[in-house]
Symmetry: C2
Subunit: 149 residues, 2 copies
C-alpha cells in the first residue's frame, strides 16, 4: 500500500513537471523559492506535543513542548521522531491507545495531576487530544515513546 | 533582556553540570541520550500552523500544515522559520495582529472561506488561534510571513 502510494506520488510529480516536492527523489533540485507554496503530495502530519502540570489543558503549566512531523519523513524537535511516528502509524493515529496505562504497573494513588496534549494534524485530520494522569508514575507507565521527551 | 537571559541560562547550565541543553554553546557535546528529558532553560515555543478551506477549524479541510519552533532558535518545516519567529516576537505573540487585512487592499466579497490556525505553545503559553477569511484574496492580504507556506 505504501509502495503503491509512493508510485502514484512519483508519477504525479513527474507529470506535474517537478514543481511539487517529491520525497525520496534526489532531484529536489533547490530550496523552495521564497514565497512558493510547499505543496505536498502527502496528507500533512504535523503535531505539537506537550507535557504539563495540572488537570486541564487550557490552564495547565506547560513544562515541555516538542514538534513532530511524520510526512514525508519523521522530523521535528521530538528526540525520537522516527519511533514516535512508527508508533502513531501502527496505532492508526489513535492517541488514546498510545497513552493507556500498561496492566501490571503499580502506582500510588495520590493526586498530583500531569497532562499530555497533542495538537495539530494527523494524516490530514485535525487532532486535539489531551489526557490527564493522576500522578507522574501513571504518566510514566503510559506515555510510551510518543510523550517521552 | 535577551543577553541577560542568555547569561543566566549559561550560568545555570554550568552550575547544573551541562546536563541541560544550553543554546549558543558548542559544548552541546553529544546527541541527547535516548530517554533523557530534553529540558530547556527557555519557555517552549512550538506551533503547528495550518491553512484550510472552510469557516470552522474543527471541520475545515486542511490543505497545508507546517511546524514552527522559535526557541532556542527558529526551526521546523515552515519555509521561512526565521522571519516568522521574528514577526511573532515583534508582535508579542499576538496572532490576531499578524493576520489583520492591510488597509488599502481591494478584494471581491464572494464567500469562499479559508481558515488559518495556530495551535501549540508560544513562550510557555497555550495557543489556540484560528481566523476565517471570506476568500483567498483576503487571506493573501493578511497572512504575512507567518502563514506564507
Amino acid at each position: 500500500m505504501r509502495y503503491i502510494t509512493r508510485g502514484i506520488a512519483l508519477g504525479a510529480a513527474l507529470a506535474l513537471g517537478g514543481g511539487l516536492a517529491a520525497a525520496g527523489t534526489t532531484a529536489a533540485s533547490a530550496a523552495p523559492a521564497t514565497g512558493a507554496h510547499t505543496q505536498s503530495l502527502y496528507a500533512p502530519s504535523a503535531l505539537v506535543l506537550t507535557v504539563g502540570q495540572g488537570d486541564d489543558a487550557a490552564s495547565a503549566g506547560i513544562q515541555r513542548a516538542v514538534t513532530l512531523n511524520c510526512t514525508p519523513g519523521p522530523s521535528g524537535t521530538h528526540p525520537a521522531a522516527k519511533a514516535a511516528c512508527a508508533d502513531l502509524r501502527s496505532a492508526g493515529g489513535d492517541f488514546e491507545k498510545l497513552t493507556t496505562v500498561k496492566t501490571g504497573v503499580l502506582c500510588t494513588k495520590e493526586w498530583n495531576p500531569v497532562i499530555v496534549t497533542a495538537q495539530g494534524v494527523w494524516e490530514g485530520q485535525r487532532v486535539n487530544f489531551d489526557k490527564v494522569f493522576g500522578n507522574p508514575c501513571e504518566m510514566k507507565a503510559a506515555k510510551g515513546t510518543l510523550f517521552e521527551f
